[in-house]
Amino acid sequence: MNWSLVDPGVIRPWLICEMGTRWLTAVRRFGPEMIPEALVPKVESASRDEILASLNLLEPAVVLWETSRDTLAASCDSLARTAAINPRVLQIIACHQLTHREQLCLTPFPVAAMVHQPEELPRLTPMIHLHFARWTQFID
């Protein structure tokens, strides 16, 4: 996909930070249905550093962090830094195997939603709509 051909005003970036491709596949499947029909989701997989580096350039976007027990501390750090650099980014945590106590560790950080399995993504549709409507009201 050559994104330079698409009007930047209709692109809604989704960045996925994960080990495999599970959530990338899920967002490619459900992402287009989770934003208004006229808009285009730009779904990309990126490393933690790449996401943090590109935050200044990002328009309103969604970042999905896959978090496991081993990466919990790094995820907390990324969540805090992302919110500080660019508040227009909606942050979602994908945590399949975290215990309830470990999930509680994430609550002080600006996490918009936690999902455990890909089938839970469509539930977030109203929230994603509202997020983009809030930050792009002057663009759209």
Binding site: M1, L5, D7, V10, R22, A26, R28, P32
Partner: protein, 469 residues
């Protein structure tokens, strides 16, 4: 207290103990239940002996069979030899058994392996993450089977709003003998739902199957002739017509059917399934059904107004499977349980990778396609677990993404997009050439004048560009 190495002392101890203990034979039947089971379940547990104890097995729908199935061991006991499960047995009569943690142990070799289980208040469970998911799904399914014993059709499993609405409507339809209209695209299981509703709401009543698309008025008369005779001869006689594809039935045949329903009002009942066109008219929410059904354009809608009046007494809408994504793992597992209980294969659960593949697949042929996929998978799988490689090729090779994006781009202006692309290329090349326009033009294979013209066209201040040449 009696002690010994023989079986009798142990039998006495178990009989005295209040702990529910039970044993399952290699064939999956309950062969022993301690007196503690009777106390826990609230009835004489001897009634459960020789009943099948396999998850999803209560084929008869009898309450005791359901209790026996709830006592079944969780998936993968054969491989692991031990397993844990929190069990809430269905209530029989007024007694509501409390939930208990159960521990299962399998002993003996493959052909003669016995499963022993003991229930109590344990707190030592640390299952593998994969199995933890499987146990969670099993518990959700057990809860669904417990609450909807009679109407537990696999496609009604799930926790979504759509699943809840569907179950409630089916429960209402099953509790009263009334005309029912089922709306859903092809493969949505309308016929199985309507057949179950008929069996529950009017057991023993004559059911006549009518294929709407193949009917004309004469053929309809011929199909219904025996039933019409029955209705004419006896005032007590009652029949139900199950019409598949009512909206595909020719208009004249529809009017004839409406006339018959009017003539034998109350004694002839209509259970009808309609296709996706009507579903769209009834969308987006079920609450709008009465409003949308008041439209006058009968022919455009595919149904005559008299029949709309009939089926609007109770309508059931089943959304396409792609709109019930969060229910897919439960529905698929319920289908697998049914087939496993029927002895179609050894697979007891679907692993997470395979469930992910099922979740992202768009299911153009809905529940029927899912049913076929599970049938394919259970026949292909040789072990206890269905993995991605056991799913049909179309599902395991599906990669989402490209199609939807392409359709959305059609609303963009091509000229604007090309202009932006051109300007971006020129800007990048200029930066690489350290701002040297002649060099940038050479690298792009265009004249310097053309490059400058393009820059001027895009610049908000053309005068400034001219000065900087």
């Amino acid at each position: 207290m009696v002690s010994g190495t023989g079986i009798r002392p142990l039998a006495r101890l178990l009989d005295k103990s209040k702990a529910p203990v039970w044993a399952i034979s290699p064939a999956g039947k309950l062969i022993y239940l301690s007196p503690g089971c009777s106390e826990w379940l609230g009835f004489d547990s001897a009634l459960l002996l020789d009943r099948r104890s396999v998850a999803g097995a209560p084929v008869s729908g009898e309450r005791l069979d359901l209790v026996a199935a709830a006592l079944a061991a969780p998936a993968e006991l054969r491989r692991r030899g031990t397993a844990s499960l929190r069990i809430t047995p269905p209530s029989v009569e007024t007694h509501r058994p409390v939930a208990k943690e159960a521990r299962f142990i399998r002993i003996g070799d493959e052909a003669t392996a016995l499963t022993f289980a003991i229930a109590g208040d344990f707190d030592d469970r640390l299952p593998e993450p994969e199995l933890k998911d499987a146990v969670a799904v099993r518990q959700q399914l057990d809860s669904w089977r417990r609450r909807h014993t009679a109407t537990a059709i696999n496609i009604t499993a799930g926790t979504s709003n759509e699943a809840v609405r569907l179950r409630r409507r089916i429960d209402v339809a099953a509790s009263t003998r009334t005309d029912v209209g089922f709306f859903g695209p092809a493969g949505c299981g309308g016929e199985s739902i309507l057949t179950r509703i008929h069996a529950l709401s009017a057991p023993g009543e004559n059911l006549i199957n009518v294929d709407g698309a193949l009917m004309d008025s004469d053929l309809l008369d011929a199909t219904l002739m025996p039933a019409l005779h029955q209705l004419s001869e006896s005032k007590e006689a009652r029949i139900t017509a199950l019409v598949r594809g009512l909206d595909e039935m020719p208009f004249e045949a529809q009017q004839r059917l409406a006339g018959l329903l009017d003539t034998f009002s109350g004694r002839m009942r209509l259970l009808a399934s309609c296709g996706s066109q009507l579903l769209e008219l009834n969308a987006p929410t079920d609450d709008l059904i009465s409003e949308s059904l008041s439209l006058d354009e009968d022919r455009a809608r595919g149904l005559c107004s008299q029949l709309i009046d009939v089926i609007s007494s109770l309508t059931i809408v089943n959304r396409p499977l792609a709109l019930r994504v969060e229910d897919i793992p439960l529905i698929a597992t319920a289908m697998l349980d049914t087939r496993h209980a029927a002895g179609e294969g050894p697979a007891e659960r679907i692993n997470r990778a395979a469930l992910d593949a099922l979740v992202v697949y768009p299911w153009p042929h809905n529940y029927e396609e899912l049913e076929n996929s599970i049938r394919h998978a259970i026949r292909t799988a040789t072990g206890n677990v269905i993995a991605c490689e056991h799913l049909p090729l179309a599902i395991r090779s599906y990669r989402p993404g490209a199609i939807l994006k392409r359709t959305k781009h059609t609303k963009l202006s091509l000229d604007d997009a090309i202009q932006r692309y051109e300007l971006r290329l020129i800007t990048e090349t200029l930066e690489n050439a350290d701002g040297n326009r002649a060099e940038a033009a050479r690298r792009l294979g265009i004249s310097r004048a053309r490059l400058i013209r393009r820059l001027e066209d895009q610049s908000p201040n053309p005068q400034q560009n001219k000065e900087s040449r």
